[in-house]
């Protein structure tokens, strides 16, 4: 019995020993990158006059002021509203199409062809068409986000289903699994990593397309619009404030929220 407790420890030790090292190894590159950006910016701010490149300090002060302003919060909130609707719909559609393509070879060829034709078009190129079709407002922007996030998800899931280990399916069938159990115990766990990858790539695409679409989409609210408008009135501090907000949010969402989700779902890979 004494041996058993000893082994339980032995099982856990590799995890706990390296836990802080792992965290450090994960955070450290981010910190370095962050410092490099701020340093480069500060140098540029010293070289150029402040009406061209304001210093990081002045942008931080402006950001503080903006965050206290309701209009700014509403504008950021609107961007998030568009992003969450577009990204959610795209992920769901991509998941469905990806699963169907993984299962049915004909559908797979169809999706492949569709992707190879449409993927070469930057999502933002659709904006004029969508504005004419749907009018100014949230719809064309959301549609652009859907296009941006759909393909990465569909392709990742399709490949994920295709790559499900046939041997694992056979093992489960031999042990008596019915179709529902096959899905729960083999297909889902094997495809989840691909879904996470699809979501991560799709999210990056969606976020970039959101800002771009808001800049050219003729709306008068949203982060992209905020930057565009500041540029038009030569408010460089405003432009950089918008850029900082974009960088911070996507770093937090992609680098922290999605990364944590991934590590949770793929715990076994990180042992």
């Amino acid at each position: 019995m004494a041996e058993r407790t000893g082994t339980a420890e032995a099982v856990e030790r590799p995890e706990s020993l390296s836990a802080w090292q792992l965290r450090f190894a994960r955070v450290f590159p981010y910190a370095i990158a962050f410092l490099a950006i701020v340093a480069g910016w500060q140098v540029a701010a010293l070289i150029f006059p402040s009406y061209l490149i304001p210093s990081p300090g002045s942008v931080v002060r402006r950001l503080g002021g903006e965050l206290a302003r309701e209009a700014f919060l509403i504008t950021v909130g609107r961007s998030f509203f568009r992003l969450s609707i577009g990204f959610t719909l795209a992920s769901f559609l991509g998941l469905m199409v990806g699963l169907a393509s993984g299962v049915w070879p004909f559908f797979r060829r169809f999706t492949r062809a569709l992707v190879s034709i449409l993927q070469s078009v930057p999502p933002i190129a659709w904006v004029p068409l969508f504005i004419i079709l749907l009018g100014f407002g949230d719809y064309p922007i959301i549609l652009v986000i859907i296009i941006a996030a759909f393909f990465p998800m569909a392709v990742a899931v399709m490949n994920g289903v295709e790559q499900v280990e046939k041997l694992h399916v056979d093992v489960a069938r031999l042990l008596g699994a019915d179709n529902k159990q096959l899905i729960a115990k083999v297909y889902a766990p094997e495809v989840i990593p691909s879904i996470v990858t699809g979501a991560q790539v799709g999210f990056g695409n969606a976020w970039r397309s959101l800002i771009a679409a808001e800049m050219v989409g003729g709306v008068n609210i949203g982060l992209g619009w905020f930057i565009n408008f500041a540029g038009e009135i030569a408010d460089m501090t405003g432009v950089l404030t918008g850029i900082v907000v974009i960088g911070l949010f996507s770093a937090v969402l992609d680098g922290y929220v999605l990364e944590r989700l991934k590590r949770r779902l793929l715990k076994w890979k990180y042992v």
Binding site: A10, A172, L174, E190, W268
Partner: protein, 272 residues
């Protein structure tokens, strides 16, 4: 201990597995060519043969994973037409699920049976002790050695207690010591449970130590070349003169000799 003497036709027990003129082709390649075979209930059958002669394919057909191109396979008098938990297969590749721990892998079949947590915990703990993995329930497959993975795969199939146990080189990746231990363990399970076992192996000594009959297959397309009954009483002495003689016979049929020129091939773990 009752010692049964098996004839070439399948022994004295009731017929458990009947294979009739089985043919298995993949496109133009015929892998198995008209194999007929009867295995008695409670018999231990070993199959040896050159690499690529269709041994794994034969086990997959028996397990119901592959539909035969022609011929019939019956188990307990019923045609095999799909996988069935009563006849389970331990794959040559361990095929553990990488996202499950050792414990969870062994529990898979019991989860599929919808057993309670407590039942599963008990049974898995028992099995892990049996295959010597009780120290490693929380390990993931990529943290295990090759031999440990094979033992986990064996435990996973033993968990559902099949009455036909199909084993595809289950001890292939093991060191000599562990292999001998697990052979003894397998023999114990076999003698205590009355399971019917078909073991594919490259190790002639292993086949002779364990089996009631050893089937020797020819090169592709696989046919049964010879059936060697092993009548020696169990537990057998690995070093007995009788087994050594039989080994010579088997290796001779396979076109190999234990002594090649002046180079003496080690007696233990001679593999083909």
């Amino acid at each position: 201990m009752e010692i049964r003497v098996k004839s070439q036709l399948g022994g004295d027990g009731p017929e458990k597995i009947v294979v009739e003129k089985l043919v298995q082709s993949f496109d133009a390649l015929t892998v198995i060519d008209r194999i007929s075979l009867k295995v008695a209930e409670g018999e231990f059958l070993a199959i040896v043969g050159p690499s690529g002669c269709g041994k794994s394919t034969l086990l997959r057909v028996l397990a119901g994973l592959v539909k035969p191109t022609a011929g019939r396979v019956r188990i307990d008098g019923k045609d095999v037409n799909g996988p069935n938990r009563r006849h389970s297969l331990v794959f040559q590749e361990h095929a553990l699920f990488p996202w499950r721990t050792v414990f969870q892998n062994v529990a898979l079949g019991l989860e599929i049976e919808r057993q309670s947590h407590e039942q599963i915990r008990q049974r898995v703990t028992e099995l892990l002790a049996l295959v010597g993995l009780d120290q490693f329930p929380g390990y993931y497959p990529h943290q295990l050695s090759g031999g440990m993975r094979q033992r986990a795969a064996l435990a996973r199939v033993l968990a559902v207690d099949p009455d036909v146990l199909l084993l595809d080189e289950p001890f292939g990746a093991l060191d000599a010591m562990t292999r001998l231990t697990l052979q003894d363990e397998l023999l114990r399970i076999f003698l205590n449970s009355g399971k019917t076992v078909i073991l594919v192996t490259h190790d002639v000594e292993e086949a002779l130590f364990l089996a009631d009959r050893v089937i020797i297959m020819s090169t592709v397309p696989g046919r049964i070349r010879e059936v060697i009954p092993v009548t020696e009483k169990r537990p057998r002495d690995r070093g007995s003169a009788n087994l050594a003689g039989l080994k010579r016979t088997v290796l001779g049929i396979l076109g190999l000799e234990p002594v090649i020129g002046n180079v003496r091939v080690p007696e233990t773990n001679f593999s083909i």
